[in-house]
């Protein structure tokens, strides 16, 4: 079968247009579901979002560079992997949020698994030359050489193996403790801190949970003793 040049040109043009209109909504959906506002919609992400907001990666630096959640927490070596991981995370986390019990998760224990949910190629999308630069400190260069040396071996490290508090201002553990204390003795103090943390972050939009409301009522009752 011979196709005329005109028809071929038409097919190419139409394919281009169709392709463009397929890519456009996909790109839009990916973008819209990659904002930190989107990730922070679920209440169980509050400690992560609050600690992230204190970090230089949230854009508080003089230069104003800002990393989104997905910039570190999704793989960036290729688009297929990125979309696949994003879909899996979306399904799993969405399921847990709507049908599971996110409040029962031991997030502090989960910090140990950071090497599995922070991706080096995410870090290095911005810190492109970090392994070769000579502008960093002697110690940093020495340790990054150690990292390079172990690449591809069974002892391979990740950026977060050493950079433990990165992206969350070394404050993630504190915030998680406020939300769900590891040690019983802190319970009352942690609830107080959690309320403070939420008030600072949500400002006028702060909506106390039942437990928080009771705590606040008790506190104000103590502050204004009734005159009998």
């Amino acid at each position: 079968m011979k196709i005329s040049k005109k028809l071929l040109a038409l097919i190419v043009v139409i394919s281009g247009i169709v392709g463009f209109f397929v890519v456009l909504p996909v790109h839009y959906v990916l973008e819209e579901t990659s904002t930190d506002r989107f990730c922070g919609v679920c209440h169980e992400m509050d400690p992560m979002v609050i600690s992230y907001q204190k970090d230089i990666h949230a854009g508080s630096g003089a230069i104003g560079v800002k990393a989104k959640c997905v910039d570190c927490h999704l793989p960036h070596d290729n688009l297929a992997k990125y979309v696949y991981q994003k879909a899996v995370n979306g399904i799993v986390e969405g399921y847990i949020h709507f049908f599971g019990d996110p409040d029962s998760i031991n997030w502090v224990a989960n910090l140990k698994n950071k090497e599995h949910y922070v991706f080096d190629n995410g870090c290095m999308s911005c810190h492109t030359n970090i392994l070769d630069t000579t502008a960093s400190s002697q110690q940093a260069q020495k340790m990054h050489a150690h990292y390079v040396k172990l690449q591809g071996s069974d002892k391979e490290l990740k950026c977060v193996s050493c950079h433990v508090g990165v992206g969350h201002a070394h404050d993630m553990r504190n915030q998680l403790e406020y939300w769900k204390p590891s040690y019983k003795i802190y319970e009352n103090k942690m609830l107080e801190q959690k309320i403070k943390s939420k008030q600072e972050f949500f400002k006028d939009e702060y909506e106390p949970t039942k437990q928080e409301r009771e705590f606040l009522e008790k506190k104000s009752a103590k502050a204004t003793p009734s005159h009998g």
Partner: protein, 146 residues
């Protein structure tokens, strides 16, 4: 039909191949000195799990102490802090404990000024100095000293 299936398979392969592709970092030209350590000496100086995981060798901590491991000395606070930042930062990381004045890195007695090796040891079990007076409270306040 067969050709169509084959084409579809090929396309699928093209799409998923990059997932398994990986590019490795380049070699750095930082010259790292090598030392020889006897098995006996190595066995006597085990590392804490976190440092073990980072695959550290003696000279990663015992920097500028020559190449005779039997002569290595305590690396002091300065050595620890070359990676661990500052004592103030270490205190901030456990800020939640300040609510009960139980933060070991910011105690009411010493603030963020203690020597690291008051409690933390690399080659032998660490201790908890707070326990010397607060034996019963410490297990309620914090975990085991890493």
């Amino acid at each position: 039909m067969k050709r169509l299936t084959l084409t579809a398979l090929l396309l699928l392969c093209c799409f998923f191949t990059p997932i398994f592709a990986n590019d490795n970092g380049k070699k750095s030209d930082l010259n790292i000195q090598k030392i020889t350590v006897s098995d006996e000496l190595r066995a006597k100086h085990t590392l804490k799990p976190h440092h073990e995981h980072l695959a550290f060798d003696c000279i990663d901590c015992h920097a500028n102490q020559g190449d005779d491991p039997s002569k290595f000395k305590n690396i002091k606070d300065e050595g620890c802090l070359s990676c661990h930042g500052t004592k103030k930062l270490l205190a901030q990381r456990l800020k939640f404990m300040d609510t009960l004045k139980a933060n070991p890195h910011n105690s009411v007695h010493d603030g963020p000024t203690l020597y690291c090796d008051e409690c933390h040891f690399e080659h032998k079990p660490s201790i908890n100095m707070c326990s010397e007076c607060h034996e019963h409270e410490v297990p309620q306040w914090m975990g085991v000293t890493p």
